[in-house]
Structure formats: structure tokens, C-alpha cells
Amino acid sequence: MNCEKITYYIEKGFLTDLKISEKLQVKLHKLYCQCCKNYAPDSDFINQILVLICEEDTSESLTDAEKQKLKDALQKLGDS
């Protein structure tokens, strides 16, 4: 009963090809372990929603004062 190892294989499987023996261990383990059986779709779901992070690009913005500071710094650099 090594869920730590099995979940590691599940994650590794998203990143690279697993060895046959690793695949087999995952399959067998999931037959009797509900936790790991639940883990796999959860993990896949996280992969799917992670890409949402980049969808909206300007959720936060710099303040006008911060922008002015940037402008001044660049202006000074440009003049010198």
C-alpha cells in the first residue's frame, strides 16, 4: 500500500512515458485503493485548470505613481 509511490508515478506519467512495470503497479494499486483511484482524475483536473491562470492578462495593474516613477527613470536614462 504505497500511495506515495503510486501518486508519484501518476504525476510522472503526465510528464514522461512510464515503464511498463510502473504502469502495471499503478493499475493494480488503483484496483484496491480508492484514494489513488480518486487522485488520478483530481490531478488531471488540476492540469486543466492551471492554464486558466494566464487567461486574463491585466487583472492587476501598477499605480499611476509607480508608472510615473518608471517613466522618470527611463527619461533620465535616455537623456544621459
Partner: protein
């Protein structure tokens, strides 16, 4: 050459800042990187040959700076959370409090993408800093593993271990935030 750097700031500063802040997860550092990027762009303007757009060019400078930051970060400072039993016959079994309930995908039906985005961003923010950059680089930007390893100065097996640890923590964070 006469360059309107104020226009650069108006057009690109927010975009650059948002790009940087999710990747370095430190707003002050992100602001510094944005300023450094503009400074490098201005200094290197002679090298800009107009082969790409100004936006692409400026972003490429920022990306380089983010990678430089990542490579400097230590990876082994944080002790990872344990989700498993560490002793006895059942060593390696999910601890009761962390056992996956398998209900995470229900979240998608009940939540707007914007809420979901906020939730996952919050959970990423709770990861150790070094892992945050790696997770975003690999899982959000979906880069090849080889490039990610190179960007963060880690080996492929480091990457697998870190992604495993990070995903365990993210999964638990999402489940607890949503269902408790």
C-alpha cells in the same frame, strides 16, 4: 534615435507586471523586474532590429530576467508537507485528513472560471517559491520538460519530484478550500 519610453510604460507596464508576478510570486520583485526590463530595452535599443514587434522583444527581455531569477533560487530549503504515513506496515498510505475524495471536478460545474482562477492562484501562492515558478513554467506555460529543467537549473527527476509534491499540495488545498 528618439524613443518614446513613456509610451512603452503606458502600453506594456501592466502586461509585463502581470506576467512577472505570477511567475516570481513577489509583487515587489515583479516591479523591479519590470523596471530592469525597460532599462535593458532602452540600453539595448540598437540591437532591436525590428524583426519582431516591440512587445515581443520587450517580453523576451523580461522572460530572460525571470529565468535568471529562477536559477538563483534555492530548491532544497523547504521541508515538504507529508501527506502519507511514515511508519509501520502501512507506510506510504494516504493519511486520513489528506485522502482524496475524488470530488474536485465537481468544482468546475459550480464555479465561474474567474473564481476558479482565483482559487488556484491562491493555492499556488501557498507553495514554496521555487516550486511556484516551476509549476507555472511547466504546467501553465506548458513548456518542454528539458527547457523547464534548464530554466530552473534542476534535473528531470527533480522536476518529477517537485511536480508530484506540488500537485499533492495543490490538490489538497483546492479540496479543502472548496469543500470545507
Amino acid at each position: 534615435m528618439n524613443i518614446d519610453t513613456s509610451q512603452w510604460v503606458d502600453e506594456y507596464a501592466d502586461m509585463l507586471y502581470n506576467f512577472a508576478v505570477v511567475r516570481v510570486s513577489d509583487s515587489d520583485l515583479a516591479k523591479d523586474l519590470v523596471q530592469d526590463t525597460f532599462v535593458s530595452a532602452l540600453k539595448g535599443i540598437d540591437k532591436f532590429q525590428g524583426k519582431s514587434t516591440v512587445k515581443t522583444w520587450i517580453f523576451s527581455i523580461l522572460k530572460r530576467k525571470i529565468i535568471d531569477h529562477w536559477r538563483k533560487q534555492e530548491s532544497r530549503k523547504t521541508k515538504p508537507m507529508s501527506f502519507f504515513t511514515t511508519e509501520g506496515m502501512m507506510k506510504g498510505k494516504f493519511l486520513e485528513t489528506y485522502s482524496p475524495k475524488g470530488r474536485l471536478s465537481e468544482v468546475e460545474e459550480k464555479m465561474e472560471n474567474s473564481e476558479l482562477r482565483e482559487l488556484i492562484t491562491e493555492c499556488i501562492g501557498a507553495l514554496p517559491p521555487k516550486w511556484q515558478g516551476i509549476v507555472v513554467d511547466k504546467m501553465v506555460d506548458e513548456k518542454e520538460s528539458e527547457e523547464v529543467c534548464n530554466n530552473h537549473d534542476i534535473t528531470p527527476s527533480n522536476l518529477w519530484v517537485i511536480v508530484h509534491r506540488a500537485k499533492l499540495q495543490l490538490r489538497d488545498c483546492l479540496e479543502k478550500k472548496w469543500f470545507v
